[in-house]
Symmetry: C2
Subunit: 360 residues, 2 copies
């Protein structure tokens, strides 16, 4: 037994890899699993592939996020991408860059989260790679999935409704709470409320969980794509404004959204109000919501609402796609104004941070 | 036109991604390419998947390696893994972690190398991701391939020959040369000989190229696997001793190799001799050769030699697999002695470095 506080530099690359690989169960469809030059897996003829990584200091901080939740989120952000294509996730590879002074126990807990999330989603881990980094942890996941019917970003037509699942803004509020000292423990329970009183506990937990352990509507996404209930889809990762503009660009349409209909997360709204913040800006530009944004033909809305109810997901029509240039208009109160995208840019801002105000 | 010296922090994540994606041609079998939530590709029913990354300061240094060659090598190390399974490479995703002060031109050149190597190997890039890192560059590639007949690490039997392709030790000698100031330019031509005179130029170039732009025997690997000419295979990435022991462990056999037969790279041997180094240790433990190590039934050797000639690859039988525990024995001069694996461990050593002497 190697003590969990042992630094990786003392464990060594090969023993670490063997330790991690020994924990990975051999999944369905896996012909050759971890440990050979490459994995070999059975798939459908059409395969979905996506890759996304979490970088310490940019996407997470060690003091903000228990390693188990980092592991869960590293897989979740990729699950969200496959879901947004209408796919079923199947196989994942995990590439880790780890500094030599990192404790073995941290990596064990990261793998707890990865394996647990993989089991929940029916995903088999098929490849692992570890490399030394100088300072920061990088968790890079590539996910393979399969789909019968693809849901791309490019099918929206003028007159289609702009529909979002769930609520928006909680993940961005979660970053603010972390910055104020609020914390979850390894199990996802409240460990510290930071500057907030105990009575705010439930709202604080909701926003921290949205940030640290997001739950995209995976089953609904697959289900609505198979039924052809949406013409275009994207996951809301960069922020509603940025991701909606992306669908507009790919589909060569514009969009008009109504501020009053945007499903601002009630926990985020309450906390933002209490600190004098702008919860609409959080919902429009905060990002990391990992909800779905869909283009839906108006006659399909009722059937989609029915389907969403089966999966216990709320859906909201927040506007419509319109003829014209790929640009956004926001109806707010009586008037309308252009809406500039304002999602966060990881090259320009440092480590998450507060959602930026809208431009233009 | 953005000037190539512009730091990425000024370019921004989305414009950078769009710039890189615009360069990627849509390849055969690609149904949805870069730029949607996930790529969608056509494959065979059995898919190979491997992932490997290059980390700055661990696998490469910016002052040692032109970015175009980093791009080439990032794909090559994965091509080598798919080849060692007997597969044909098809699709690759590239995940980049880049510090905000890195110049745009560096990333453009990295992509020159990635795209060029992908075209050489018949691989389509299908996904790209960029994230900010604090300091170091990480180039993480996941490669999908397909195979009719798998070549795993676990099929070696007692009596099979240990066969290696090409020569060994040049890549490790290349690291020593880089440390002594020798350099290649962006095109792979000699830019500086370091401490060596001009007459050593060809040997210096050969070793630098082996380190910075390795060329695994991809076509031979696929061809011999399809014909079932080897019972087990692995690519020599960690060093002959480490990788051979790995085949022994997976196949539950031992191995005996003969020092006199090991195909030490002649350029590496000459340079090592001149500096008073041990070229046998380089060949046994140096690593990063990206040659194939195979378990071959003796009656197959002539046919394999014939096939290798077609692909202009040298092959050498260096020993045989034997009954018993997974361990290695080296015949050297008159005697035999146990051979401990001595490939480099990226968690324990800093940045490549000289091959370690063999243990016990």
């Amino acid at each position: 037994m190697i003590p969990p506080e042992t630094p990786l530099g003392e464990v060594g690359e090969r023993p670490l890899l063997e330790r991690l690989h020994a924990r990975i169960p051999k999944g369905t469809g896996v012909v050759v699993g971890v440990g050979d030059d490459a994995a070999a897996v059975e798939t459908s003829a059409l395969v979905l592939v996506t890759t996304d990584c979490l970088v310490e200091g940019v996407h997470f901080r060690r003091e903000w996020s228990p390693p188990r939740l980092v592991g869960r989120k590293a897989l979740t952000v990729n699950l969200s991408d496959v879901a947004a294509m209408g796919g079923v996730p199947r196989y994942a590879t995990v590439s880790l860059c780890l500094p030599p002074d990192l404790a073995l126990g941290w990596v064990d807990s990261l793998y707890d989260g990865l394996l647990e999330r993989a089991a929940e989603a029916g995903v088999s881990l098929i490849g692992g790679n570890v490399a030394r980094s100088r300072e920061s942890i990088v968790v890079d996941v590539t996910l393979l999935g399969q789909a019968k019917r693809l849901l791309t970003r490019s099918g929206a037509k003028p007159g289609d409704l702009v529909v979002v699942t769930g609520t928006l803004g909680a993940a961005a509020e979660g970053v603010i709470l972390l910055d104020q000292g609020a914390r979850l423990d390894e199990e996802g329970h409240l460990a510290a409320t930071g500057v907030w009183t105990e009575t705010s506990g439930p709202a604080v937990v909701a926003c921290l969980r949205a940030q640290l352990d997001p739950r995209p509507p995976l089953a609904l996404a697959r289900s609505l794509a198979e039924r052809g209930m949406a013409r275009a889809g994207i996951d809301v990762s960069d922020g509603l404004s940025v991701d909606l503009l992306e669908v507009c660009r790919r589909s060569d349409v514009g969009a008009r959204i109504d501020a009053a209909t945007i499903p601002i997360d009630p926990s985020a709204a309450g906390l933002a109000r209490a600190r004098g913040g702008d919860s609409l800006a959080l919902a429009l530009h905060g990002g990391e919501d990992y909800q779905l944004l869909l283009a839906v033909e108006p006659p399909q809305l009722d059937a989609l609402r029915e389907l969403a109810r089966v999966w216990s997901v709320d859906i909201t029509a927040v506007g419509e796609f319109v003829e014209g240039e790929p640009q956004l208009v926001l109806q707010d109160g009586g008037g309308t104004r252009p809406l500039a995208p304002g999602g966060h840019d990881h090259f320009r801002t440092v480590g998450g941070g507060e959602a930026k105000g809208e431009g233009g």
